[in-house]
Amino acid sequence: MERPLGLAVLILLGCFYLVALFADFISPYTPPDQSLQKTYHPPTALFWENGRLHVQRYELADPDDMVYRKIEGEGAPVRFFARGHDYRLMGLIPTDRHLFLVDEPDRIYLLGSDETGRDNFSRLLYGARISLSIGLVGIAIIMVFGFLAGGLAGYFGGIWDNLTMRFIELVMAVPGLYLLLVLRGTFPDELSPGQTFFLIVIILSFLAWGGTARIIRGMTLSLRNRQFVMAAEVLGQSPLKIVGKHILPNVFSYLVVAASLSIPAFILGEAALSFLGLGIQEPSASWGLMLSQAQDMKVFMLNFWWLLLPGAAIFVTVIAFNVLGDVFRDIVDPKQKFLNR
């Protein structure tokens, strides 16, 4: 792969994260906001009239199959930077301005609505917050723990090394599903579904750092016999300092690449957990939850195609992270020594 592709992917992911950051400003509705008269609504058409953008009005033509028909010539003006529900911009500035809105009872569904008439577009944006940050949180934990455990085990060697490795084997064999069920039972009600879910990710990451630790250990084992490490030892530097100052720079590139290649696993893992009912819960949204709710024959048979968009979002993001990881790998490790996972 060449660098321009890497740049393009980086920009794409940047846009995704930016959109997620400003989700409450861009989206017209909150994720739980329902409209029971407009369930399974198709994406609303827009038209231009009297110098203003209008959103097409629809009527329910067939309640048996939820088929909506345009009411010709009727629409509601789209208002930009209009006042809607309250929120805090970037979590700080309290405001109620939204990029675009229409007056109730009309609704603007850029990407259709779901089974309780919630705006698919808004839910996708809010869902991006969960789906895009999960990988980052998980990866951070895995990297920090993997590096510390692997680096120190490799540096000290001997009995410490042996103990750490056995411990890792045990941790990797812990039934994660069980642990999740147990710990979920102890989460207090005060936590929001989002917080609960981050706790779940943290738990899963704690179970998954073993693989990284093993590889770091292997790399450290070969690094510790190099001259610069021995020199540092002779100078009397503490082990923690040696690992941080001399080993880390040498494995850093590996960590970066491994991180970008592992994020997709977290995004897909989130979807899988949601499918099993162990992921984020209603009324919050995540791409995985939305996709697992679209896991339904009627979505195909009644052609509610817009409900499959979270799948497309997952698809694009996962590809982007994979490409990015490969590009990073080409940059830091042209010989592809360690990264043939």
């Binding site: 792969m1 084997e169 045990l170 064999a173 812990v174 039934p175 599903l177 069980y178 642990l179 069920l181 147990v182 039972g185 102890t186 997709p264 897909l268 979807a271 899988a272 499918f275 099993l276 995985g288 996709l291 697992s292 896991q295 024959m297 195909f300 799948g311 997952i314 698809f315 694009v316 996962v318 590809i319 994979n322 490409v323 010989k335 592809q336 020594k337 990264l339 043939n340 996972r341």
Partner: protein
């Protein structure tokens, strides 16, 4: 070699003890127990629930439950009893054994499918590095990797429904009982095609990527240059030398795949109604059918260790330079 095997197998014992102990503790910590389903039935008498609790030994503290289980498992009198399923009232091994063949079959076919597709693709992509073929195959591999498995399974089901080419999930046809053995074989094969593809497709991308990278790595190495300089034909260089070296890491990966047999196809089993073991264990976990869970854990941990061991043996066989001491 023999001592290595013996040592690994002995190391299995403390691990099994640790894991089963931990699992019993976790089950105790998790709210509720197996009888919750009964408790939520409107006509279940409280005394009946108490009697069941005694029957299942759920009135003991969890560590007592664990040691009672362990006492039965350890073959004092050459008989090892792993307990029975609360839900099915059937011996744990018998229950697991009923579902295991279908699961192993699917693992084997999907692994074979992935290898057969991915290895030639990886090799070709390496030989023709940076060509159009390389690009396209890697894009396809990325794409295959990026669809959640459960959703891919639904797409497969939808495809089967629309075209009528494949059965709508399951393992055998309704008429299976009335078929001749040959027909039965083809019937199972017919049912296996879609699940195999859905399970296998995810690993194609990663196997292909590893293969490509290793192959490139080896092409650049000195022995290849030497061999070429000696005038060894290109085909022999590639396949006798490079290929053999490049496939090593994949053997290790296959060892890991062995360990995931038990849970690997859970989503596909659910969506495509495949009568595998993953689904049953998942239910046992949700229901807290504890002896089934413990049995399944013993089985999967043993498979993990065995898989790694087999991979190491295969590695030594493929590459005589590798020695274990």
């Amino acid at each position: 070699m023999k001592t290595v095997i013996a040592r690994r197998l002995i190391a299995l014992i403390p691990m099994l003890l640790g894991i089963t102990f931990m699992a019993t503790m976790l089950m105790h910590l998790a709210p509720g127990d197996f009888l919750d389903q009964v408790r939520m039935q409107r006509d279940a008498d409280p005394e009946y629930i108490e009697r069941l609790e005694r029957e299942f030994g759920l009135d003991n503290p969890w560590y007592v439950q664990y040691f009672l289980w362990l006492k039965n498992v350890v073959p004092w009198d050459l008989r090892s009893d792993f307990g029975y399923s609360f839900h099915y009232k059937v011996d744990v091994w018998e229950l697991l054994g009923q579902r295991l063949p279908a699961t192993i079959l699917l693992s084997v076919t999907s692994l074979a499918f992935a290898w057969v597709i991915a290895i030639p693709l990886g090799v070709l992509a390496a030989i023709y590095k940076d060509s159009i073929f390389d690009r396209i195959s890697s894009i396809l591999a990325y794409a295959a990797l990026s669809i959640p498995e459960f959703f891919l399974a639904l797409l497969a089901l939808f495809f089967a429904a629309r075209t009528g080419l494949f059965p709508l999930g399951g393992f055998t046809s309704t008429e299976f009982e009335f078929m001749s053995p040959v027909r039965r074989f083809f019937d199972v094969a017919h049912h296996l095609i879609l699940p195999t593809i859905v399970v296998g497709i995810g690993s194609i991308a990663s196997i292909m990527r590893i293969m490509r990278a290793n192959f490139i790595d080896n092409i650049r190495s000195e022995y290849v240059t030497t061999a070429r300089a000696k005038g060894v034909p290109e085909g022999i260089v590639m396949f006798r030398h490079v290929f053999r070296n490049a496939i090593n890491p994949l053997i290790t990966a296959a060892g890991f795949a062995f360990s995931s047999i038990v849970s690997g196809a859970l989503m596909v089993e659910i969506v495509m109604n495949y009568p595998g073991i993953g689904h049953m264990i998942f239910h046992a976990i949700l229901q807290q059918d504890q002896f089934v869970v413990l049995g399944a854990l013993v089985m999967s941990s043993t498979m993990l260790i065995l898989g790694n061991l087999l991979a190491d043996i295969a590695l030594a066989w493929n590459d005589p330079r590798i020695r274990y001491d």
